[in-house]
């Protein structure tokens, strides 16, 4: 058993103000949770920036007004028409793998469309490494499709996992239901770790193909862990989620799920949550079984509604680490991250508590516990937790939600005391897959009906909300006194958080914000409680129209705001052209 040394990891130095070329240096990354102070915002090396998964940053001087400009006829962004844009590049046609930035490099998951590499024609998935300062491509991991079609590796979805960068390694889940570790330098500095990249990238489904000629601009795979072979996982539609790395351990959800038609759970005994030891995984000759150091044994997979697409967050109680796991069965789980061996010798995470985030009327017919409601994509009934939970000031924060293809429906946002597993408050909202931003005890979150909602983190009171008029699949970013949120229409809405807080304090909670003929109208019920017009509107609210859906979440690293649409990636900085 390889246990985490929590003392060690919590003593590691704070992350992320470094820039320049990636270095093979000792771990600079901390397991310190919640927000990390100072440093101008530092890097954004993982989903949620830190293990607490709070979608916020301390970055300053971010642009309030930004404009992606127009596209040229070939679909590339035309920077001459943009505002505050440092650079912009075209991605594949579907970009779901949210960017991560560390040590001057940006890593993003997309598909192969429009790439033009003659070695890879057709549908592949990619992780692309770019120079964060310029957008210039450095290397690319090319991943063949599994060949399952829509069942387990839906066509053209690309890599849907957000990469996590630690030291000189990138951890990401592929569309082939693998955990993969990459060298940040690609093959340019030689081939480290496994030596079979040429064979890996040649697969046609599960059939080996003719080895691909490798180039220095290809990715260098250090190791792979195949969750289908090793764990019997049945990924539903695609593999998603983000690896959480604390110390030597990589924690992740497996994407285990239901069949294409939602009628069966083919792998109820496969875990929904596992942990791999990333240092052991780099040892020559290591077996996959030796990599696996922990898994949940709470039988979550027997209860999966749809798919275990979302990974855990890290919290602390009394100085000890806790895994906050968003149950694909609608329960919030807290696990001890230190596995203990079961009778068969498997490392098992002790379950500290679980809490049903579905209110009784969504879980049971008329709230009657003898009449459980079936999972339904439409209408009422229970939902899973698909947003990543956020750890903030000793509490677990997350909404319930479903695959956005299941459309809007009744949801619920829950705040749980991490020490006791007891609910602090909950509040009704629409289904959501947005991971929250929590700053100054205010929660910002989006939902599938398109609402951006600000909730008091202590009381659960909705202070204000704004209908962006299209589904929100992505998450908010709060930084520099602004909340950024993108929607399916490609509209990025930006509010000044302090100004909105003042208005809510003044006018009372429950405000609905509307933009009418250039005016900002704050309504309570049907009545306008305040109308703001003229220049003041621009001090509180801005929006920017992007040419494609904003299904990735905006991030900030080293003072640069990165916004990925489905087909492009933009870098914005106040004062840039």
């Amino acid at each position: 058993m390889n246990r985490l040394s929590l003392v060690t990891v919590s003593l590691l130095a704070a992350c992320g103000t470094s820039s320049g070329p990636p270095a093979n240096e000792p771990a600079r990354r901390s397991a310190t949770v919640e927000t990390r102070e100072g440093g101008g915002g530092g890097d954004w090396p993982e989903w949620g920036r830190t293990p607490s998964k709070n979608m916020m940053s301390e970055a300053k001087n971010l642009p309030f007004e930004l404009d992606p400009g127009k596209l040229k006829p070939d679909g590339t962004p035309d920077l001459a028409t943009a505002k505050n844009a440092l650079w912009a590049v075209k991605m594949g046609s579907q970009t779901y793998g949210n960017p991560a930035v560390a040590n001057g490099r940006l890593y993003v998951g997309t598909n192969n469309e429009g790439r033009g590499d003659p070695r890879f024609k057709g549908d592949y998935s990619r992780v692309v490494c770019l120079e964060a300062a310029t957008g210039k491509e450095i290397w690319t991991l090319t991943i063949p499709k599994l060949g399952t079609g829509k069942v387990g590796d839906w066509e053209f979805l690309g890599v849907c996992s957000h990469p996590t960068v630690v030291e000189n390694r990138v951890y990401v889940m592929t569309n082939r239901c693998e955990v993969i570790c990459l060298d940040v330098n690609g093959l340019a500095d030689g081939n480290q770790g496994v030596q079979d990249e040429a064979n890996y990238m040649a697969f046609v489904g599960t059939t080996p193909g003719k080895p691909v000629e490798m180039k220095p601009t290809d990715a260098d795979i250090i190791w792979r862990y195949d969750m289908i072979y090793e764990l019997g996982v049945f990924p539903h539609n695609i593999t998603a989620g983000s690896p959480l790395v604390v110390g030597d351990i990589v924690y992740l959800s497996t994407s285990n799920g239901v069949t294409y038609d939602h009628t069966e759970l083919p792998s109820p005994k496969s875990p929904a949550l596992i942990a791999l030891n990333r240092k052991i995984a780099e040892r020559p000759g290591v077996t996959p079984a030796e990599m696996l150091v922990g898994e949940e044994a709470s039988r979550i997979s027997k209860r999966i509604f749809h798919g275990a697409w979302t990974g855990p967050a890290w919290g602390e109680v009394g100085g000890k680490g806790v895994l906050l796991f968003p149950g694909p069965d609608g329960f919030a789980y807290a696990f001890d991250p230190n596995p203990v061996k079961d009778a068969d010798g498997f490392g098992i995470f002790p379950e500290k508590w679980r809490y049903d985030c579905n209110p009784p009327d969504l879980r049971y017919k008329n709230g009657d516990k003898t009449q459980p409601l079936k999972y339904a994509t439409l209408g009422g009934g229970p939902s899973e937790i698909i947003a990543t939970p956020v750890f903030y000031k000793g509490r677990f924060y997350a909404p319930i939600g479903q695959d956005p293809e299941h459309r809007p429906g009744p949801g619920n946002y829950t705040c749980i005391d991490l020490a006791t597993g007891k609910k602090v408050w909950d509040v009704r909202m629409d289904r959501s897959l947005s991971t929250s931003s929590i700053v100054d005890d205010l929660i910002y979150t989006g939902d599938l009906s398109g609402w951006l909602t600000c909730i008091d983190a202590n009381k659960g009171t909705i202070l204000w909300r704004y209908n962006t008029l299209a589904e929100i699949w992505s998450s908010t970013l709060v930084a520099d006194g602004k909340v950024y949120v993108g929607n399916k229409d490609g509209m990025l809405s930006v509010f000044a958080t302090d100004r909105m807080k003042k208005l809510a304090d003044e006018l009372g909670p429950g405000l609905e914000v509307e933009i009418e003929s250039g005016k900002l109208v704050l309504k309570k019920g049907e009545k306008a409680a305040r109308e703001i017009s003229g220049d003041e509107v621009g001090q509180i609210f801005r929006e920017a129209k992007f040419p494609a859906e904003l299904h990735c979440s905006p991030i900030v690293a080293q003072g640069v705001l990165y916004v990925a649409t489905m087909r492009h990636l933009y870098a914005f900085k106040a004062g840039a052209k």
Binding site: L71, P73, S93, Q94, E113, G149, K150, W154, E155, F156, Y260, D261, H262, T377, L378, G379, D403, E405, H406, R407, G450, L469, A470, K488, D489, G490, P547, A548, E549, M566
Partner: protein, 407 residues
């Protein structure tokens, strides 16, 4: 266009023999709007016909309705004046049938609309079964399920294209995921005249158009748009056209040598079809159509965009520049008809709810969007197109078909 020369209150009663009318352009000939639109229409008969988004056909005073009743797809012939059922055919479709789970809001179909020509009714079921019926008595003349030549004979969201009948042939794109054939079948015998084998089907109906002086069959497939020779099915051109989750659903329109395509989150793009490879002429991301198909009036393109939870737009079809976009939260879909001076739009809420549907009438003008108060025409979501003949408007909602009259 078959027009019955009955003048009624200044309107010409008109047959509507297929999806978007006889020419596939959703254009009503001779419609005279009332001087003042009423707050509500007069309700006539109402008949429970079954589920589905299929638009009825209207020919010589008879309606042909394609709908689901229980596990059957039924074709009904109704007397258009009274709603009385004249005949019915049914086909059990539930066995070995499975749609993509996210399609549940739209139910199990059918989505395809019947086409009526030469005394025959053609239907294309949710499972990809093409049926030819005798229009007088409902007798099945021939029927193909295409199982012998393809794998799964229907795409993941269910077959939705409507049969296109021309020159003694019935053209339809059959097949399933990534593999399909656009086939031309002899209307009398059901025998294949030609077949183009290639990509799987999309959900939009093929159109017959003249592009650059050449007649062509233009079809959105699963991942492409293709132009075929209507005589022999020979591929004239193709271009890649992909939408997220393979949802190509919008009927193409043609202006001169421009083929205008749209799809969910794809904006609107015009491709110039010359002798060589199609080239993009213009593109806009300001609006995008999902399941609603646009109208071309002269060189103005009117449509219903999925953005801002539903808004209408008018574009310059030569350049893609928007004259106006208007409204928000108008619904999840709108079925548009070109009624001359005005555009009639049946705006519908999400398909799985029980919210009402409204007829929205606005001026067909690029200067401004001039809307009148919406007129409620159904208590439930109505995803089929309205069928308009003279002053009669037939609305198929979730399960009922209702005759409304403009007073």
């Amino acid at each position: 266009m078959r027009i019955i020369a009955l003048l009624l209150a200044g309107c010409v009663t008109q047959d509507w023999p297929a999806w978007r009318g006889a020419k596939g352009d959703a254009k009503l000939d001779g419609f005279k709007p009332p001087a003042t639109w009423p707050k509500e229409l007069q309700r006539g008969w109402q008949v429970e016909v079954g589920e589905g988004h299929s638009t009825p056909a209207l020919v010589e005073g008879k309606l042909y309705v394609f709908a689901r009743q229980g596990g059957d797809e039924v074709t009904l012939s109704l007397d258009a004046a009274s709603g009385k059922e004249l005949w019915r055919d049914k086909l059990a479709v539930d066995a070995e049938f499975m749609l993509q789970s996210a399609s549940k809001p739209h139910g199990k179909g059918p989505f395809s609309s019947p086409s009526v020509a030469g005394g025959r009714v053609f239907t294309f079921g949710i499972r990809g079964t093409l049926t030819c019926l005798d229009a007088k008595e409902g007798k099945v003349l021939w029927r193909h399920d295409f199982k012998d030549r393809l794998g799964t004979p229907y795409p993941q969201w269910g077959a939705a294209a409507s049969p296109l009948v021309l020159d003694g042939a019935c053209v339809i794109h059959v097949g399933g995921d990534k593999k399909g054939s656009i086939v031309s079948l002899d209307v009398a015998t059901g025998k294949q005249k030609w077949s183009w084998d290639g990509d799987g089907p999309g959900y939009a109906t093929s159109i017959l158009a003249t592009v650059g002086g050449k007649p062509q069959l233009i079809t959105q497939t699963q991942y492409k748009a293709v132009g075929l020779s209507p005589a022999d099915g020979k591929l004239l051109w193709e271009l890649e056209y992909k939408t997220n989750y393979d949802q190509n659903s919008v009927t193409p329109v043609v202006l001169g040598d421009l083929v205008i395509l749209s799809g969910t989150a794809r904006g609107v793009t015009a491709y110039r079809i010359g002798g060589g490879k199609p080239e993009q002429a213009w593109h806009t991301d300001d609006v995008a159509m999902y399941m609603s198909s646009p109208l071309l009036k002269g060189d103005r393109l009117y449509g219903f965009s999925e953005k801002r939870k539903g808004q209408f737009f008018c574009l310059d079809a030569k350049t893609g520049q928007a004259f106006w976009t208007a409204g928000s939260r108008l619904g999840e879909n709108a079925a548009l008809l070109d009624a001359g001076e005005v555009i009639l739009a049946l705006a519908t809420p999400r398909p799985d709810g029980n919210d009402p549907s409204h007829l929205i009438v606005f001026d067909a003008h690029e200067k401004a969007y001039a809307q009148r108060p919406p007129i409620k025409v159904a208590d439930t979501p109505a995803w089929a197109h309205p069928v308009v003949s003279g002053r009669s408007i037939y609305i198929k909602d979730k399960t009922k078909l209702t005759l409304w009259t403009i007073p």
